[in-house]
Amino acid sequence: MRSSSYISIYFDDEVPMLQAVKKLLDSKEKITDVLSPFPVHGLDEALSIKRSRIPIGGFIFGALGAILAFGFQAWVFTVSYPLIIGGKPFFSIPTFIPITFEMTVLFAGLSMVAAFLIKSRLKPDISFKPVDERITDDRFVILVDTADKESTLNRVKSLLSGIHTLEIR
């Protein structure tokens, strides 16, 4: 991440950071990423991040779980091994509901977590190096993409002169 084609702007609070994000975007700078110690309210809108489709994936897998669980129970009790248990009907929808529900939740939950980890490229990785070790504590960083570092640096510095920044490099 820390290559020469980025400049990083450091803040110690989210309010000036949000102002800077708006200013940079207004003057058509390209923000690669914004790193923060906690989810900053209003940042999604400022960066116009599209609403994640994770819930849709969760719905699809949940539905799949429901169909599989219900279908399996129905198949077992009507086709594979119909067994009379207390004189109850073979195909009895109410008794299939609890397991169907549990499997729906299980499939939906696990699929959403998997989607989150995959989309955010999160995996156990012992060689991982953070951009800056203070980000998870109290630093807010805007990474701006640049082809010509020198000129972008000057441009950004003058653009953000009215905003409280800690460091621009």
Partner: protein, 449 residues
């Protein structure tokens, strides 16, 4: 326009982002105190005692328990339901209170979720050894076998297996998803060494990117949304283990809501017990404040009152049904040979929790601590009363008998308490007990944004 007054801050004192990090991490990164070692020693011995009793049970068979042909479920199923109930508060706090945007939950959700996981582990142990042959546990899962047989999907016991394993899995991933950013914080605070590598591995390469936060938020909300009905379903299904039978005193439709309310009641009591100790031991008084305790006490009154209402409804319905077996079951509960257990149940659950209407007591930490223990004793006896009094005298008078627990059974209860507290004490040394990033996100009140 009507403006509501500014809320009082949810955490006390003037805090910066950095001081929040160090306040929460320092107690766990410094050397553990005397009380931690003392707690670990007691919990460790309790655990060893329990492990020995489990070994004894498996070696000798469940004949070492006091159960007999009439009372086939007693101490172990009581303790199983008790632990599952305790496990309900964690997901209630993290899921339902998240959906209701109760921001005060942010200081307590992490430890409550951890508590849930440990409680479910303790609970799952009981059905396992109750089978008598734990090695054959896999029989309860529907797997293809040469006999061509499947499990009985009509049976609530099979539903239970699915409900509890789903509940455990979802609680675990929910907890871990919430932990990832905080493990990242821990990783960045430790300068080097094996510890850093382990936390680096566990942090999944968390970097705090805006897009990751967005997905993290959506995933958490969605998990909360699906975990909410899950919490309610798990104890409902546990209650159906009883309610779908024909035993007088069990065969009632009130069981699912009654059990869920009781579960949240006892779960919150256990959260109170743990948090009052934790805040003192870890010096987190500014984060887990008196108002947190008071808020949880309000939930205790609400659920305690629901439980009280359920006791009365049960009594009323037994009379109103006109069924003589039901009449007898409930008269026997209150006035039969186990009257003392019934009295403990009423005293600990109904009478004591109503004291929380008094504001002074609700705000008192000492009172809350003792009350939370009393409530959990009461909730254990509630399950004991339901299970044992209904079974020991049912339709067939010739097989009426009494049940008396043995030392092995007490050992199992003490052992699971040992496992639970050992796990919790290890947890507070390994992971941040308070969700750091969530506390940072609620630090500022309205006017500062």
């Amino acid at each position: 326009m009507l403006q509501s007054p500014l809320r009082t801050p949810l955490i006390e004192g003037k805090k910066t982002y950095r001081s929040i990090t160090s306040d929460i991490l320092n107690p766990m990164m410094n050397k553990a105190g005397k009380f931690w070692y003392l707690g670990m020693t007691i919990a460790g011995f309790a655990m060893l005692f329990g492990v020995f009793m489990i070994f004894w049970t498996v070696w000798q068979g469940i004949g070492t328990w006091g159960e007999n042909r009439t009372v086939g479920w007693a101490f172990e199923i009581t303790t199983f339901v008790w632990w599952i109930g305790i496990g309900h508060a964690g997901t209630f706090i993290s899921a339902i209170l998240l959906l209701f945007r109760q921001k005060w939950r942010n200081s307590i959700n992490r430890s409550a979720e951890a508590m849930t996981i440990f409680a479910v582990i303790c609970a799952a142990l009981f059905p396992l050894i109750h089978l008598g042959r734990p090695l054959l546990t896999f029989f309860i899962f529907p797997y293809p076998n040469t006999r061509g047989l499947w499990v009985n999907f009509n049976s609530p016991l099979v539903w239970d297996v699915f409900a509890i394993s789903t509940y455990f899995t979802i609680s675990l991933v929910f907890w871990y998803v919430g932990l990832i950013p905080d493990i990242g914080t821990l990783r960045d605070k430790i300068s080097k060494g094996l510890k850093k590598n382990i936390y680096n591995f566990l942090s999944f390469g968390w970097k705090g990117s805006a897009r990751d936060w967005h997905r993290h938020k959506i995933t958490s909300i969605m998990l909360a949304a699906i975990a909410t009905p899950l919490v309610l379903s798990v104890h409902s299904i546990v209650s159906m283990d009883f309610a779908s039978s024909i035993v007088p005193g069990w065969h009632t439709t009130i069981f699912p809501p009654y059990f869920v309310a009781g579960a949240i009641f006892s779960g919150f009591a256990m959260v109170q017990t743990l948090l009052i100790i934790t805040r003192k031991a870890m010096g987190l008084e500014a984060y887990i404040t008196e108002s947190h305790v008071e808020n949880m006490n309000k939930i205790l009154i609400a659920t305690g009152s629901i439980v009280a209402l359920a006791y009365m409804t049960e009594m009323f319905m037994a009379w109103y049904s006109g069924v003589e077996y039901e009449h007898y079951a409930f008269m026997n509960r209150a006035t039969g040979p186990y009257w003392w257990a019934y009295m403990i149940m009423i005293g600990c659950n109904v009478v004591s929790s109503q004291l929380l209407w008094i504001k002074k007591l609700r705000k008192s930490l000492v009172f809350t601590f003792f009350l939370s223990i009393v409530i959990n004793i009461g909730m254990w006896f509630e399950r004991f009363v339901i299970i044992v009094t209904s079974l020991h005298r049912d339709y067939l008078t010739s097989s009426w008998t009494m049940y008396k627990p043995t030392i092995v059974e007490f050992g199992l209860l003490i052992g699971t308490l040992g496992i639970f507290f050992t796990a919790f004490l290890l947890f507070i040394r390994i992971f941040p007990v308070i969700s750091i990033f969530e506390v940072k996100s609620i630090m500022k009140t309205g006017d500062q944004h």
